[in-house]
């Protein structure tokens, strides 16, 4: 393939991904609109049923209710999941071709960071969805991925070119790949945290009765919070690693491991906010909605770091290529 063809194929793959993600979004939305009941069975086929005497629960084995497959909403959600897998595969091709076209890792400017971040969001979601029923989360993953790609192709698009000398280092591979996985995982955590806030409000309104409306299809606020917590528990050490790897690189490139460059400052702020979240999880009065708000604040700090600092602030990390 010639270089021009490679470029065309890469861009075509990104556009095809956007089309298929849009369809996935429609499917997930229809699933919410159609279905009324979330099936009782959980992924492991084991449900912890809370008994009357407080926290005690018994193990009961439940089988997946075959009838629930007749639920039309479920079928739409299944199509949505398939389309999400397809989107991931096409976007992966798009990102790889971009790298081959440029002759380097495809992380040289903001267009490339963004399409890889969208890949990261989808990838983290799909990996988590293996062995778990996460169809209810699909809509809230597809939307940010689609927005990221939309911004990438419209505002951030840059022709592939060589790296500036400052980026020529194997630390680019280590530091940026860790940061990109974190972007996907933080986005996912913000989605589950946001849903837990909506769901917990609905639960309060229902006052003990079953939650109605589309939030009925979403797991309980408690389960959403548990999920958020697990995602952050995985992502926080990785984010710490990404920051430390960045510090090692900075020491090697600029002569200091920490210099309060705006990018470093916001990475630090993100780190501190998620550290606060982990502390909130074991502080009375902070475990519920407040903790979820902290996750959203941490995600916002991450986004400010990505969009705000790259585009608007004069930083050593201004590699937007715009």
């Amino acid at each position: 393939m010639t270089s021009v063809e490679l470029a065309q194929f890469s861009n075509a793959a990104v556009y095809a991904t956007m089309l298929s993600l849009s369809l996935a979004m429609v499917c997930f939305a229809v699933a919410f609109a159609l279905g009324r009941r979330r099936p009782a069975a959980t992924a492991a086929g084991v449900e912890q049923v809370t008994a009357a005497e407080g926290t005690t629960a018994v193990l009961t084995r439940t089988t997946t209710v075959a009838a629930s497959e007749a639920d039309p909403g479920r079928r739409w959600a299944n199509v949505g999941m398939s389309l999400t897998w397809l989107s991931f595969a096409m976007l992966l091709i798009g990102v790889v071709l971009r790298g081959i076209w440029a002759g380097r890792v495809p992380w040289g400017n903001m267009y490339e960071f963004s399409i890889t971040a969208a890949l990261g969001i989808l990838g983290v979601f799909l990996v988590l969805s293996i062995g778990r029923d996460l169809r209810w989360l699909g809509l809230f993953v597809v939307i940010p991925a689609l927005l990221t790609l939309g911004l990438a192709v419209t505002v951030l698009y840059t022709e592939a070119a060589q790296l500036v000398p400052a980026l020529k280092s194997y630390w680019l591979l280590i530091h940026v790949s860790a940061a990109i996985i974190c972007s996907g995982a933080f986005t996912l955590a913000a989605a589950t945290a946001g849903l837990s806030l909506l769901r917990s409000r609905a639960e309060r309104r229902a006052a003990g009765a079953e939650v109605t409306g589309w939030l009925n299809r979403v797991p309980s606020a408690d389960r959403l919070r548990t999920m958020t917590n697990r995602i952050i528990a995985f992502t926080f050490p990785l984010w710490t690693f990404a920051v430390v790897a960045g510090a090692i690189w900075a020491e090697n490139a600029w002569g200091r491991y920490w210099g309060w460059d705006p990018k470093e400052t916001w990475a630090f702020i993100t780190w501190v906010v998620f550290a606060a979240y982990l502390h909130a999880r074991s502080t009375a009065g902070w475990r519920g909605d407040r903790a979820s708000w902290i996750v959203i604040a941490g995600w916002l700090a991450f986004m400010i770091n990505y969009f705000g600092v790259n585009i608007f602030v004069n930083s050593l990390h201004s590699y937007a290529g715009m």
């Binding site: 400017n109 000398p165 020491e251 002569g255 491991y257 210099g259 309060w260 630090f268 502080t283 009065g285």
Partner: protein, 527 residues
């Protein structure tokens, strides 16, 4: 970071106890080292960091601080007094993180003692009613009690549980059962404590770097060099405990500076290669070593690192007086002003009579813009042109006030002319008062030389912090009890239960697996 009892006390809004001074101080200290305080201080730390990313900072960009101050004369000085242009060195920022670290130490030390005791203590005995625990199961086995207990014990041990065998004799008010108690996941708390202590070491490493480290900047023209002593640097900053007289005595010569820019349509003009060919000597008289310094590839000499941080052009001029005698013959460092290396600089010729000063602008690829006049359209030297404006008079060199080599004080000088020169061009100054020849240009490179004795410790502490963090987030502390009683119809009744301190997703699996293991050897039937 507080213990469970603290949290309960806080949750119920415990009032200040009517205690004496010591009691009150103890109560204050407990509040201060509580998780809630840590949480508030973390929020404060995040908030306090924000202004430094929005306002220019002296540490990174002093020139933009001055610009900001002159553009905002109303609030600028007030913000300056409050330390907003040096946020990360300001007392209020320091107080937030120091309080946080004191709170951290005050919490981690007692917890370390607590954890040490817990690690030495055997797992707690089986509670009376296992079926009340969050995860439990009951199975039967045809084996006798001893065999089941032995099997449970060895199974748990092989999976690295800490195991304690025990019984609850009916004589002591127990249920007459024998049991195995097992506990696992102590490394969760170990990791947690290691993580927090590692953060303290990161802070210590930063302090060591601040006190004993130093950093200098120097601009070197091709063919020129410098040696590592204070007078040779254009800018130098060191910690309080650095003695500037005892810097490592190395010296470096810049032989050649190689640079390449993108010429393709995408990102045209973006840098593609910076490379400084240098020769260095570790000590005066030592064997010279040739090497290259690139971005991301610093040179390490005597514990200090030499980084390539910038480059630019140094046009070369020869100035002659009316009699033809050479009064100036040197290349002059011009500082780049934009991405296309439009560079400005000053030529001071005190030996001309009267003294001659020239403000210069060097354009590596000059083109004429109808609005902006002469501009550079590419950072490479495709069409180098220098614009000069000449002044005669008193440059103020004898006033005793230190002067910047990049600024010409024209307040007591008179403008005598303006000229654009290409390499090789010569300009005869008005009234035949001498000539200025632009012979060509050299390149210069700017180096930052940094020495930070704390960075090794910082790296080790950061690595330790990540390891501790992973343990504390991935390991789950949990207990399992296997209680065995003889069944009336023969064989044994086995009750298994699990309890997790933190939510443990795999605890049901642990319980299910041991149930399966204990029934696998006998005819099994579920209770």
């Amino acid at each position: 970071m507080s213990s469970a009892t603290d949290e309960r006390a806080q949750a119920t809004g415990a009032p200040v106890p009517p205690l004496g001074t010591v009691g009150f101080l103890r109560w204050m200290w407990r509040q201060f080292t509580s998780m809630r305080t840590a949480l508030i201080l973390l929020f404060l730390l995040a908030l306090a960091s924000i202004p430094g990313s929005v306002l220019p900072q002296r540490g990174t960009n002093p020139i933009r601080v001055e610009e900001w101050l002159s553009a905002n004369p109303s609030i600028g000085p007030a913000l300056d007094r409050l330390g907003f242009f040096d946020v990360y060195a300001s007392p209020w920022f320091a107080s937030v993180y120091l309080l946080l670290f004191i709170s951290l130490i005050g919490c981690v030390l007692p917890r370390t003692r607590q954890h040490w005791r817990a690690m030495l203590a055997p797992p707690p005995g089986a509670p009376r009613r296992l079926e009340r625990l969050p995860v439990h199961d009951e199975v039967r086995s045809s084996d006798d009690v001893d065999a089941v207990l032995a099997a449970a014990g060895s199974y748990l041990k092989s999976r690295r549980w800490r195991v304690r065998m025990g019984e609850s004799p009916a004589a002591d008010g127990g249920d007459g059962s024998r049991w195995v108690a097992a506990e696992k996941g102590y490394s969760r708390e170990t990791g947690n404590l290691v993580f927090h202590l590692a953060l303290v070491f990161v802070l210590i490493a930063v302090a060591i770097g601040g006190l004993f480290g130093w950093k200098g900047n120097v601009i070197v023209r091709e063919g020129g060099g410098f040696s590592n002593s204070l007078t040779q640097y254009d800018a130098w900053g060191g910690g309080r405990l650095v003695s500037p007289d005892s810097l490592a005595p190395f010296s470096i010569t810049l032989d050649r500076f190689n640079v390449d820019f993108e010429r393709g349509p995408a990102q045209r003009g973006a840098p593609r290669l910076f490379q400084a060919d240098v020769t260095y000597r570790a000590q005066p008289g030592a064997r010279p070593v040739q090497t290259t310094i690139e971005v991301n590839e610093p040179l390490e000499v005597d514990g200090a690192k030499v980084f390539l941080v910038g480059h630019g052009y140094a046009p070369h001029f020869i100035v002659k007086d009316p009699s033809g005698a050479v009064v100036f013959d040197d290349s002059v460092v011009f500082l780049p002003q934009d991405g296309n290396f439009t560079s400005t600089g000053v030529i001071k010729v005190p030996d001309a009579k009267p003294a001659l000063g020239l403000n210069g602008m060097f354009l590596p690829t000059a083109s004429l813009d109808p609005v902006r006049g002469g501009v550079s359209t590419f950072p490479g030297p495709d069409n180098p042109v220098v614009f000069l404006s000449a002044f005669r008079g008193d440059m103020g060199l004898d006033s005793g006030v230190p002067q910047s080599v990049y600024r010409l004080d024209t307040s007591r000088m008179q403008k005598v002319g303006l000229k654009a020169l290409a390499p090789g061009d010569s300009w005869t100054l008005p009234n035949n008062s001498g000539t200025v020849e632009f012979t060509g240009f050299q390149r210069w490179a700017s180096f930052q030389i940094a020495y930070d004795p704390g960075k090794g410790l910082a790296l080790a502490a950061a690595a330790l912090a990540i390891a501790g963090l992973m343990l504390s987030l991935f390991v789950r502390r949990r207990r399992i009890w296997v209680k065995v009683v003889p069944a009336t119809e023969g064989g044994t009744l086995i009750a298994i239960a699990g309890l997790a301190k933190n939510e443990a997703a795999d605890l049901p699996d642990d319980v299910a697996q041991i149930a399966a293991h204990l029934t696998s050897t006998s005819e099994e039937s579920r209770a």
